[in-house]
């Protein structure tokens, strides 16, 4: 069975600092990978997705992620965070099967302090 692990439940960073959120997946084939963000009392919003090709994908709001097949990872990064980046970030996996949806990690809560 497939799974997604986000090892860091909480991350605290200062405004202007860089951010890296870790994501490891378990799946026998190459999955489709996503990062979503959830702001307080809101639904999930897509940041970026990886299907194939260039392992570095660019997303909204200057986020980027790097896929590594050898490490089974899909880490999210941002060079300089803003206080508005405070949210919960979810890594998710799809096997590409018909209407099966996504398997999510437990999320990483990011707090950005001024």
């Amino acid at each position: 069975a497939q799974s997604v692990t986000q090892p860091d439940a909480r991350v605290t960073v200062s405004e202007g600092a860089s951010l890296q959120l870790r994501c490891k997946y378990s799946y026998s084939a190459t999955p489709y990978l996503f990062w979503y963000v959830q702001y307080p009392r809101q639904g999930l919003q897509l940041l970026l997705k990886y299907y194939s090709g260039d392992p570095v994908v660019q997303g909204v709001n200057s986020f980027e992620a790097e896929f590594s097949k050898s490490n089974s990872s899909f880490h999210l990064q941002k060079a300089s965070v803003h206080w508005s980046d405070s949210a919960v970030y979810f890594c998710a996996l799809s096997m590409g099967d018909y209407a099966q949806g996504l398997t999510f990690g437990l999320g990483t809560r990011v707090s950005v302090f001024p």
Binding site: P31, R41, G43, L44, S94, G96, G101, L102, F104, L106
Partner: protein, 115 residues
């Protein structure tokens, strides 16, 4: 810009009552989902529908029943709620492509509190 609409935003009820949540998407998608998000933020798929046909029906209590009138609407009924049903219920939609994964678009959720 919100394109998956959920009502109500919040609902407080007592054990044993029946509740219904509505979801509508205006994206022209053909697949809709219900996810449950618990207090620890864990997201688990409950159901998926494609063109009004039930595709995924995860192991959820029988008191939960999805209802789809057309591909743009997917409602969720809970008959006789229990305290453990307190959660945020997220509706999502996608457009199925046979060449790869679907990107899910989520509504803002319905927060259910069972007293």
């Amino acid at each position: 810009e919100t394109a998956v609409f959920q009502t109500p935003n919040y609902h407080v009820t007592q054990v044993g009552n029946e509740v219904s949540f509505n979801c509508k998407q205006t994206l022209g998608h053909d697949t809709m989902y219900w996810y449950k998000q618990d207090s620890k933020k864990l997201l688990k798929i409950m159901f998926s529908y494609n063109n009004k046909q039930l595709i995924v029906n995860e192991t959820v209590p029988r008191r939960f029943s999805p209802q789809s009138s057309d591909k743009a609407h997917l409602n969720l009924r809970i008959k006789s709620v229990e305290p453990e049903d307190s959660a945020v219920y997220l509706c999502a939609s996608s457009f199925y492509r046979d060449w790869g994964a679907e990107t899910l678009y989520f509504g803002s959720g319905t927060r259910l509190t069972v007293l």
